[in-house]
């Protein structure tokens, strides 16, 4: 029910309600009772809101809605606040990579002291006939790479350790 609308670089968080007879858009500045009816022209609608009736042409893109009204064209970005939050899983990265099962180290890409970026490959392991590349869980500096190429490791062994993040 909530949307963040972006107009000219400004964001406004609103929620849409329907009180049983009409739609009401709730904005931080107040409520706007509103109604949108098609007119038969391609993308043509009549908007009734705030005591005015406006003829407009409207097109809905995947991330923004485009409106032509009173001789001017506008773009309204739409963001579902939930989608913004969804990206924030994996907030605090780990400091280390832990072996998910026993295996052998195929190759090591970094050494202690190297600065790495989140997602950067640190080493390649082989387990159950499958090779997997393990990547850095966050930006940081490599503190330890306990295993070398050819070494075997066990379940839960620490395969890479990053230096603790400075606050």
């Amino acid at each position: 029910m909530q949307r963040i609308f972006q107009i000219d670089g400004e964001e406004t968080e609103c929620w849409l309600g329907h009180d049983g007879s009409r739609f009401v858009l709730n904005t931080p500045n107040g409520t706007v009772a509103c109604q949108l009816d098609p007119t038969g022209l391609p993308g043509g609608y009549t908007l009734r809101a705030k005591g005015v009736v406006r003829e407009l042409r409207l097109a809905v893109g995947p991330e923004a809605t485009f409106v032509h009204m009173n001789g001017r064209t506008y773009e309204v970005g739409r963001v579902d606040p939930a989608e913004r939050l969804a990206g924030s899983d994996g907030g605090t990265g780990d400091d280390r990579l832990v072996a998910p099962m026993p295996g052998v180290v195929v190759s090591v890409a970094v050494k202690p002291g190297d600065t790495v970026e989140e997602g950067q490959p640190l080493l390649v392991i082989e387990s159950m006939k499958l090779e997997t590349t393990l990547t850095a869980p966050r930006d940081g500096v490599v503190a330890e790479m306990p295993f070398a190429e050819g070494d075997s490791f066990g379940l839960k062994d620490i395969l890479a350790q990053l230096a603790p993040e400075e606050e």
Partner: protein, 535 residues
């Protein structure tokens, strides 16, 4: 369906006196509710902020659909216990809307004693889960609790309907195919760990949420192992190592956004269909109830006037209007739902009992939910009535009421004394929700009567010992008993003890009933079947 024609004169002196008295009461009631919901010592607010936690009301705001109602149960639970320092019994329960679905909410209030479980907390939570079971409502748990309040563990742990019943109800909900989700925004320790683990889904908030059967101090004491909260039961561990946690949320906002997304994909089972009509606001202003409800509990008033301010369009189809006139029976609509209403206009006689029993059978056959408005001081006593079989007739009413398969809802509108409470679907009789009005009273008999009876016993005992008592001495025996009794029958006592689901401002009754009826239709209605009516 015809409108009730009101005879109330809003300019009459007694109307105005009633209105003033009720307004006073409501001022106090709203103030107490507000305090119980929102007023907390600054140090508790600061503590939550330090712990990087949102308060329970802010969490509910993130969870519930904007622009939707929330029917909160038992706000004033424990208001007369523990010196009043455990408002709401440290937990918020009720029925709200999440992603268009009716859900039952169980949310610890960590701003009250860390969200600890007091005996009244347990009772409130068990009641909420019973509501969920009876009405087949999915449950959202918001967990943030310091655990059982140890000094009162005997009231929290051992008995059948205490702590264990919470988890037993969770199992039964799951068994009945009713989904539950837990958002862990604080500690779930020992028994509390079962709330998220018995839920179908759970979300743990990083940094604040933790689940463990034993916390770090207990582990250290038990085995000497030293381990921190996060390692022992934090979000990262449970969502990546033990698999106890389903989702790890980086922030509170993220957690409730996830919870909404999960609830949003729960299947919606079709609701039970009952008769409905187009919805209408009552023709008379519900606030007129304040002038109709008498300021003195003993004053008689016509329940039809009350109904006229609650039902749709003030329309009421009365059943057997000329027979058994102390029982008002009839059909009406509330928020469009057709209901059968029973309301007291005096004590119950043989005829009123029989009429009620028959009416309830009609409603059961027609799949019409029942709404009871109680103002009952008892069944009629006396030889004539006994000879006519008033006990049998009362029993028939109980058989019909107790054997009803349709959802039942009760509003204790004024008096609720003695067996009349039973016939009119009191707490023991499985009303889906039961609310009290602020001036209502509930007890085995009226305060004066009880005080007199108990004082009488004492006086006669002393007389047998040869003592003759003066007026003052009699008063000295009667008065304290009367005072205590008066307090014991008050709505605040009932709501403190969770003998009801909350006190309502009478003007809110319509919405509370509407939400209750709507919630109840998530469960099916059986075919009518009764025990034996002693004829």
């Amino acid at each position: 369906m015809r409108r009730i024609e009101s005879q109330i004169d809003t300019n009459a002196a007694d109307y105005k006196a009633n209105y003033a008295a009720m307004s006073e009461r409501l001022k106090e009631f709203h103030a107490r509710q507000h305090a119980a919901r929102f007023e907390r010592p600054q140090r508790d607010i600061d503590r939550l902020a330090r712990q990087n936690k949102l308060g329970v009301r802010e969490r509910l705001k993130l969870l519930l659909d904007p622009g939707t109602p929330f029917l909160e149960f038992s706000t004033l639970a424990a208001c007369r216990e523990y010196d009043g320092v455990v408002p709401g019994a440290a937990v918020v329960t009720g029925i709200g809307i999440v992603q268009g679905r009716e859900v039952a909410i169980h949310a610890n209030d960590a701003s009250v004693k860390g969200g600890a479980w007091y005996p009244h907390t347990v009772k409130k939570v068990v009641r909420l889960l019973d509501v969920a079971l009876e009405n087949r409502l999915p449950v959202v748990h918001i967990c943030d609790s310091a655990g059982g309040f140890l000094p009162l563990q005997h009231g929290v742990f051992p008995d059948r309907y205490l702590g264990g019943r919470v988890f037993r109800n969770q199992v039964k909900l799951s068994q009945a195919n009713i989904p539950q989700i837990a958002v862990v925004g604080g500690h779930c320790t020992a028994g509390g760990a079962y709330v998220p683990t018995l839920s179908d889904y759970n979300i743990i908030i990083e940094g604040t949420g933790a689940i463990f059967l034993g916390g770090p101090p207990l582990v250290k004491a038990a085995t000497g192992e030293e381990v921190g909260v996060q390692e022992l039961g934090g979000a990262v561990m449970h969502t990546s190592v033990s698999g106890t946690g389903d989702y790890r949320a980086a922030t509170e906002q993220h957690a409730f956004s996830l919870a909404r997304e999960i609830v949003g994909q729960w299947k919606r089972t079709p609701k039970t269909i009952i008769e409905t009509a187009a919805y209408e606001e009552p023709y008379y202003d519900p606030e007129e109830l304040y002038g109709i409800i008498p300021k003195d509990r003993k004053t008689q008033f016509d329940m039809r006037e009350v109904l006229a301010r609650i039902v749709d369009g003030s329309r009421f189809h009365e059943y057997q209007p000329d027979y058994g006139t102390t029982m008002v029976c009839g059909f009406a609509h509330i928020w469009g739902y057709k209901v059968g209403i029973l309301a007291n206009n005096g004590v119950l006689f043989n005829d009123s009992s029989l009429k009620a029993a028959h009416f309830m059978q009609l409603c059961n056959q027609n799949r019409t939910p029942l709404v009871f408005f109680q103002n009952i001081t008892g069944y009629m006593v006396g030889r004539e009535y006994e000879e006519r079989g008033i006990a049998k007739d009362g029993a028939k009413m109980l058989m019909a009421q107790g054997g009803s398969v349709v959802p039942k809802f009760t509003v204790i509108a004024n008096a609720s004394y003695g067996a009349g409470n039973y016939g009119m679907c009191g707490r023991a009789w499985d009303a889906r929700t039961l609310f009290m009005w602020p001036q209502a009273e509930i007890g085995v008999m009226g305060a004066d009567q009880a005080a007199n009876t108990m004082a009488d016993v004492k006086i006669r005992q002393l007389q047998r010992e040869g003592k003759e008592l003066t007026e003052e001495e009699i008063a000295a025996i009667r008065e304290p008993v009367l005072e205590k009794y008066k307090r014991d029958v008050e709505a605040y006592t009932s709501t403190s003890e969770l003998w009801d689901d909350g006190i309502l401002d009478p003007a809110d009754t319509r919405n509370a009933l509407g939400m209750s009826i709507s919630a109840s239709l998530n469960a099916p209605i059986d075919d009518p079947h009764y025990g034996i009516f002693r004829l």
